[in-house]
């Protein structure tokens, strides 16, 4: 235990050093470097918290199945390219199980689906975006569950956010600065995909939210999973 804690202290001391040192070293690309550090830094504390707290083996397996479902969903709907339920499943997990499980499922879905669809420098940013979208949905669980319109709006927001983050990173990396011409060019080129993301998010959220939500509610009621003492704001 002490050894593990020590490793983490080292980690957290090391990372700001790496971020600042890297920015000084990679002068031309310091925007890109810092944005990479931000993406990684966002994931680390949440993962650390997840590692530290008690999680039952059944809860771990439920998270694992939800992650697998979002990865498999990418295969299942491969006949419609770009149409994927990853965001929807992440958001649904967050709405029913909380912000942290949402973050975990989102970030791991990005990492794992890229084992099949190709890893690259975009992986940390996908992990960051999907994780953040999951975490945010967990914080907004109550309003999102009350109204379908808000849920749809969140789906559209998620699609646009995801696409904009990716383009921003590409711009920083390719130009070393915020080149508005490249950014707008990339956004224009990615516009059809952005629209497809938004549409597929809305579609999957509408179709899957209640069926999967009911199943998760049932699991929580039947097996008493994901009941944390500090979560008095149980949405029910």
């Amino acid at each position: 235990m002490t050894r593990r804690r020590l490793t983490f202290v080292l980690f957290f001391a090391l990372i700001p050093t790496v971020a600042i040192g890297g920015a000084l070293l990679f002068r031309d690309l310091h925007y890109a470097w810092i944005s990479l550090c931000v993406a990684v830094l966002t994931c680390l504390p949440i993962w650390y918290d997840f590692e530290r707290r008690e999680t039952g083996s059944s809860e771990l397996m439920v998270l694992s199945v939800l992650t697998s479902l979002s990865v498999v969903g990418r295969f299942l709907f491969a006949w419609l390219p770009g149409f994927k339920p990853v965001t929807a499943i992440t958001v649904i997990t967050a709405m029913w199980l909380g912000a942290e499980p949402g973050f975990i499922v989102g970030s791991l879905s990005a990492l794992l689906s890229n084992f099949y669809f190709g890893q690259g420098p975009w992986t940390p940013f996908q992990m960051f975006s999907w994780g953040l979208l999951g975490g945010l949905a967990g914080l907004l669980a109550k309003p999102l569950r009350r109204s379908k319109i808000r849920l749809c709006a969140y789906g559209v927001f998620a699609g646009v956010f995801f696409s904009l983050v990716m383009d921003l990173w590409s711009t920083f990396w390719m130009d070393g600065e915020f080149n508005i011409f490249r950014y707008s060019g990339l956004i224009k080129a990615a516009l059809p995909i952005m629209i497809e993301y938004a549409v597929s998010n809305v579609f999957f959220l509408l179709v899957l939210a209640n069926p999967i939500g009911e199943k998760l509610d049932r699991l929580r009621a039947k097996y008493g999973l994901f009941r944390e003492p500090d979560r008095a704001d149980d949405p029910r």
Partner: protein, 299 residues
């Protein structure tokens, strides 16, 4: 000596991280070209032996990379108009030689990075990844390994349900709405089935003592003297490269015209060190290959 398959997994991981970060952020053709060459040599070598974990046709991917490279090169001047040598004017904006060359550099960097990500699968195989991360983050490592097991399982289950539904006659409905609906039915049933399975798996893990202290890993590796030697080599080569980067010796000014400092000894050393680093996976593979052939011929 350096044979990465036998080395402690932290050595190839350190090498990979160093090469990737320096290629991605070093912003110098003196680094991207060796990185590109190292990855191509390694991937070709393991590809010839059929050891590459990638399926997919080689010709297709080579063509894909070539198209990507041309695309990045040709479009870069449209985005950045710096540069003193206009070749043409597009929409009233200059299309410059410098921007074109910067695009070529950018394309090389992109492809080098993508190729090194492909090398990653051979350099740090899955079980080694779990060995490394299983200690620092056991829960995440467990999640990752179970997901990798669940994905094929869930795909098989989805296929089984799809077959059943096709037999009933609802799956191949020409109406796309009905077809999507039946996909959704599959997805829903898959969710129920898999979540129930997850509860069982969780209970069974608990029964077998998951979470108790003193857990061991499937793969056991010890960090020996040779590993230390290799690690020192990787760190030293990285340090030399970083030193020459920090002195600005590898720095290129692309706009308005391409200028670079005259390289001195340390800059040359930096480029050589980075080239050796990039060639290490290939050289270690080559050495294994020679040794293998040599021993065979003696028998």
């Amino acid at each position: 000596m350096i044979t990465f398959r036998q080395r402690h997994p932290s050595v190839p991981l350190a090498l990979l991280l160093s090469v990737l970060l320096l290629t991605m952020f070093g912003q110098s053709p003196m680094l991207t070209v060796p990185a590109f060459a190292g990855a191509v040599l390694f991937l070709t070598a393991i590809g010839i032996r059929g050891l590459s974990p990638d399926s997919g046709s080689t010709l297709k991917s080579v063509l894909g990379y070539l198209i990507l490279w041309i695309l990045v090169t040709v479009t870069n001047p449209l985005f950045s108009t710096g540069g003193a040598t206009p070749l043409a004017f597009v929409n009233g904006r200059p299309y410059t030689l410098e921007a074109l060359l910067y695009g070529a550099h950018l394309g090389t960097m992109l492809i080098a990075v993508l190729l090194w990500f492909r090398c990653e699968r051979s350099l740090v195989p899955e079980e080694n990844r779990f060995f490394l991360f299983g200690r620092i983050a056991p829960k995440l490592a467990l999640l990752i390994s179970t997901v990798l097991r669940f994905v094929p399982l869930l795909r098989r289950r989805a296929a089984a349900m799809r077959n059943a539904q096709t037999a009933v006659g609802v799956y191949d409905d020409p109406d796309w709405l009905n077809r999507t609906k039946s996909h959704m039915t599959t997805m829903s049933a898959l969710t129920t089935w898999s979540l129930e399975h997850a509860i069982d798996a969780g209970a069974s893990m608990k029964a077998r003592g998951y979470g108790l202290p003193g857990r061991t890993t499937y793969r056991t590796c010890r960090f020996g003297a040779k590993d230390a030697l290799c690690m020192i080599a990787v760190v030293a080569l990285t340090a030399v490269t970083v030193l020459s980067l920090a002195r600005g010796g590898l720095h290129y000014d692309w706009y308005p015209s391409i200028t670079t400092k005259r390289p001195d000894g340390i800059d040359r050393a930096g480029v050589i060190a980075f080239s050796i680093l990039c060639l290490m996976p290939f050289l270690s593979y080559l050495k294994e290959e020679i040794r293998w052939s040599f021993y065979r011929s003696k028998m």
